[in-house]
Amino acid sequence: MATITCNDFQAQFESPENSPRDSSLQAHLRDCPKCRSFVEDLGLIRAAATQMAAAAPEPPERIWVSLRAQLEKEGLIRTGEPKKSWLRELLGGGLSPLPRPVLAGAYLAVLLAVAFGLSGPINSRINRQRWLEGTESSTNRLSADLRPLEGHLPVSDSPVTASLHKNLEIVDNYISLCENSVREEPENELAREYLYDAYEQKADLLAQLNEQ
């Protein structure tokens, strides 16, 4: 079974139940808490939308009989009309002056408004997660590239080497501060810029140390 990334999962999630990639989606869902959380949040949206459309319980039979009799007496309805729920009555009768497409459009607009309202915070969280993943992907690569240089640093009494080591500690400290800042605000461009600059300084210092 081919492994898929979180981005692929989220893009394919809406595909039909009989999708040939379904087993890959399930496998990813088992292993990825972030995507499980994403699926749960979408489930909440669906549930909320479904509740909006759910029919209210039918009123007692006697209500309909009484209502029918009254309406027939007033000449507003003809005999033989099928019984309807109050919601269907409202949508088909109370709002009957409005054309059905308009009613359907209004109903859809309400559903979409609820979906958008709930999706805002979810999209924001997904975006932050994506920013964070992108940054971590870059900095993990940088760290991996620099690790071999860190393993063979010269140790010497010379003031120059001592100064380079001391400044390397300063830069490592800034890298740590910047990484925390990026985790707090992944979408903050300036925080990312400071982090990348710090890695560049570290690379420069390591190169100088290895020349000593």
Binding site: S163, Y174, N188, Y194
Partner: protein
């Protein structure tokens, strides 16, 4: 181009041959090794200086000549000054494997034509350049760098050394990890100064169409301005404070505030002819009116 004229000072070999005692005395630190060389050069000559430890003082003069005076006390190093075409190379060589950092020390006094281009590498010690108008690249580790009345394309890089630039013009790019910068009475149209732990003081002119970028991680960035200056200001501290005494016109378009934790100030002072960008990670930025 004429060959170098060498003037050796200090050592008299005949004296050294007289007695072992004199030989022993000659190897003591009290007897410095001095060398003086002169090189005739054409306009826009290039002078490269590579000195691991010591003082490098470069001054401009009106002669079409490069003069190198080198002094070192240890016999574990030797200084070389050679000419290749219009380039003069000055180097301190280590000739013994057992040299300590102090043994590597050599001090230079170098006079160059005003339009000479300089390439200086001095890890520890001090670098001082005055009145040289050619392009310049200076790299040090712990050595401080002091430029006066310099112009051209100036690039300075230190690890921990401080940097001071007085009455400099042209284009300036300086970077450091823990060094502080003082940029005084500048007339540069492009300044890019970045340090991590150090402070930055800018007290110079904001030329029309000039770009001034000052950046640090922590410490203080202090910029002075006069009522007649004209600049667009963008000052952002991700986690620190930003203070400005300039009465700014807010930008026409809303500026993005980078961080919910820090502070930022954006706006135009007078006509906004120059561009001033100040940024700090968690330091303080002060934009202050000159007295």
């Amino acid at each position: 181009m004429s060959t170098a004229q060498v003037v050796s000072l200090g050592f008299n070999w005949k004296s050294g041959l007289l007695a072992p005692g004199l030989l022993l005395a000659a190897s003591s630190p009290l007897f410095a090794h001095n060398i003086e060389k002169h090189f005739k050069v054409e306009p826009r000559s290039v002078v490269t200086i590579h000195n691991p430890n010591g003082k490098v003082v470069v001054k401009a003069w009106t002669r079409s000549e490069v003069m190198v005076i080198a002094t070192h006390t240890s016999d574990k190093v030797e200084v070389d000054a050679e000419q290749a075409g219009n380039r003069v190379d000055v180097t301190t060589h280590q000739i013994s494997d057992s040299a300590s950092p102090e043994d590597l020390r050599a001090d230079y006094q170098i006079n160059v034509p005003e339009d000479a281009e300089l390439q200086i590498h001095d890890d520890s010690g001090e670098v001082s350049v005055a009145n040289v108008m050619g392009d310049m690249n200076v790299e040090t580790v712990g050595a401080g760098v002091d430029l006066e009345d310099a112009a051209g394309y100036l690039t300075v890089k230190t690890v921990g050394g401080s940097f001071q630039c007085v009455r400099c013009a042209g284009r300036l790019e300086v970077s450091s990890i823990s060094g502080s910068f003082k940029l005084l009475n500048l007339r540069s149209y492009h300044v890019h100064a970045q340090t991590s732990k150090g402070n930055i003081l800018f007290d110079g002119e904001f030329l029309p169409n000039g770009i001034y970028r000052l950046k640090n991680y922590s410490g203080v960035i202090e910029v002075h301005f006069s009522p007649g200056d004209s600049f667009d200001l963008s000052a952002t501290s991700l986690k620190g404070k930003v203070n400005s005494q300039a009465s700014l016109t807010p930008p026409a378009h809303p500026q993005r505030v980078y961080s919910k934790f820090g502070n930022a100030i954006f706006g135009t002072f007078n006509a906004g002819h120059a561009k001033v960008e100040l940024s700090s990670f968690d330091g303080t930025i002060n934009v202050l009116k000159r007295d």
